[in-house]
């Protein structure tokens, strides 16, 4: 690491640029040679829905390594800053590292400039990071984040999804990604309505994750034995809030009871 007090003068408010100038070894991402990609843990399904006052985001708790379960209680939904959240699907190692870098990037910008980035700016920045991961993605270590936040200017929640090239698309209603993403989307498609409230948003997210776990072997459903439930967080004008475990447990139990009654 070089001394930021002496090193090259830097005019950028970006943390990635600061790393490049003063500690490039922390950014090093050397593509390995061709060959088999080692088996690493993968995170599976994450989803987000827009509701009247903001946006809600959720993820199941399973990480898989090939055909085995690597972790039962992994967290995939993180606060990016006070007014945005990021959820990850794909190779868990690089994904969690990307989240850490992204969180630092947003905080760094805010401290250097004295005010936070716009939601649009945050979404673009994350896209650049996904693009930076392309060499690893080509070798199978794909990281696909889902980003959402409260846009203070528009006074609405917004969702952004990405592809491996860093391409960025906005979803006005909901989106889900990861191995069970397709099933979760199918579930959300039937349940989402414009202007739903926060409680319903949490409810349909929990249900979508349940449906994804029902169809996709890599997605974990609510684990009533160990007390492990999907994580849901909301972002509104009041900021980021992870739902307390107790509420998540109740939501999952209600859903399981309802499904048991229906027999499906």
């Amino acid at each position: 690491m070089r001394n930021p007090f002496e090193g090259p003068k830097l005019f950028s408010p970006s943390f990635v640029d600061a790393l490049r100038a003063y500690a490039p070894e922390l950014l090093e991402l050397r593509a390995a040679g061709a060959g088999a990609v080692p088996e690493v843990p993968h995170g599976t399904t994450v989803a987000a829905v827009v509701f009247a006052d903001g946006v809600a985001m959720g993820g199941d708790r399973r990480a898989t390594e090939g055909m085995t379960i690597a972790q039962r209680d992994i967290e995939k939904v993180f606060p990016a800053d006070d007014f945005s959240a990021v959820a990850i699907a794909g190779a868990a190692g690089p994904a969690i590292e990307m989240v850490r870098l992204f969180q630092t990037e947003l905080e760094h910008y805010e401290k250097i400039e004295g005010f936070p980035l716009s939601l649009e700016g945050k979404a673009n920045k994350l896209g650049q990071m996904v693009r930076g991961n392309l060499p690893l993605a080509m070798q199978g270590l794909v990281v696909l984040p889902l980003f959402c936040g409260y846009d203070a200017r528009r006074q609405a929640g917004r969702i952004f999804r990405y592809d491996v090239t860093g391409g960025r698309w906005e979803d006005a209603d909901f989106h889900a990604t990861g191995s069970g993403g397709r099933d979760a989307r199918g579930s959300l498609k039937k349940r989402w309505r414009a202007d739903i409230d926060g409680d319903s948003a949490v409810e349909i997210l929990v249900e979508a994750l349940y449906d994804a776990a029902d169809e996709d072997a890599a997605t974990g459903g609510p684990d009533l034995v160990r007390g492990i439930f999907p994580v849901v967080a909301t972002v509104t004008a009041q900021g980021y809030r992870r739902m307390p475990d107790e509420e998540l447990r109740k939501a999952a139990e209600r859903l399981v009871a309802a499904r048991a009654q229906e027999g499906s």
Binding site: M1, N3, P4, F5, E6, L10, F15, A18, L19, Y22, A23, L26, R100, L101, T104, E107, H108, K111, I112, G114
Partner: protein, 231 residues
């Protein structure tokens, strides 16, 4: 190349120090106060955008007086140092001591090597977590570091301010009391004609605030707490 005149180092150091001191004394003052729930920063600052007090890391803040371009440069380098450390290691591994040390090294080097020393004085303050004591490192233009307790005034009229604070400081003050004291001593020390009409930049490091404990207070907030009209 011309041969420079020989100037004895004693004289050079003395003149540089005098130059820096004069520059700093021309600026507006700033006070830092420990109160029960954290650390308070109050600076006379006519600008609403160019800050003298700023966040460095979770529990660490920076404040400075003197030439803006010089301390802003130092502030940004401090933020970079803190964020790179926190990213490379862990958040709790970023300490005010190591940041103050970096400031000391930098200012010391500039004072000795550069033609013109920096006309700045700064303080790196850290609010202790879970009952740990606070830290206040006062770094001056030549790189000297002083470990301060309770309160600190820097910039113009700093001697009068420190004396006034010494007289009235009470370690059991809450935020409102600390704010009232800071505002009062700053108003009293202001040169005639300026008293009472300069804008105050105010911020706190709050002990019980999780993670990022730095918070700015608005003009209205300060007015309500300190019991005087918003300027």
């Amino acid at each position: 190349m011309s041969v420079p005149f020989y100037v004895p180092p004693e004289q050079l150091t003395k003149e540089k120090a005098e130059f820096a001191r004069k520059g700093i004394a021309r600026g507006r003052p700033l006070v830092v106060l420990e109160y029960r729930g954290g650390i308070l920063f109050v600076a006379e600052n006519p600008s609403t955008h160019l800050h003298k007090v700023a966040e460095l890391y979770d529990r660490i803040a920076f404040c400075a007086v003197g030439r803006f371009s010089e301390f802003e440069n130092l502030r940004q380098a401090g933020v970079r140092l803190a964020d790179i450390r926190g990213y490379a290691y862990g958040r709790e591994d970023v300490t005010s001591r190591s940041i103050a040390n970096a400031y000391s090294q930098t200012l010391g080097q500039i004072f000795v090597q550069e033609f013109k020393p920096y006309e700045v004085e700064l303080c790196v303050a850290e609010v202790g977590a879970e009952g740990a004591p606070n830290a206040m490192y006062h770094v001056v233009f030549d790189g000297n570091v002083f470990d301060r307790k309770s309160f600190l005034a820097m910039g113009g009229q700093s001697d009068e301010l420190n004396t006034a604070l010494q007289r009235a400081y009470d370690e059991d003050m809450e935020l409102d009391g600390a704010l009232q004291l800071a505002v009062r001593v700053l108003r009293e020390a202001a040169p005639a004609g300026e008293a009472g009409n300069s804008r105050l930049e105010t911020a706190v490091l709050e002990r019980d605030r999780p993670r990022r404990s730095f918070r700015r207070l608005t003009q209205e907030d300060v007015a309500a707490r300190a019991g005087e009209p918003a300027s």
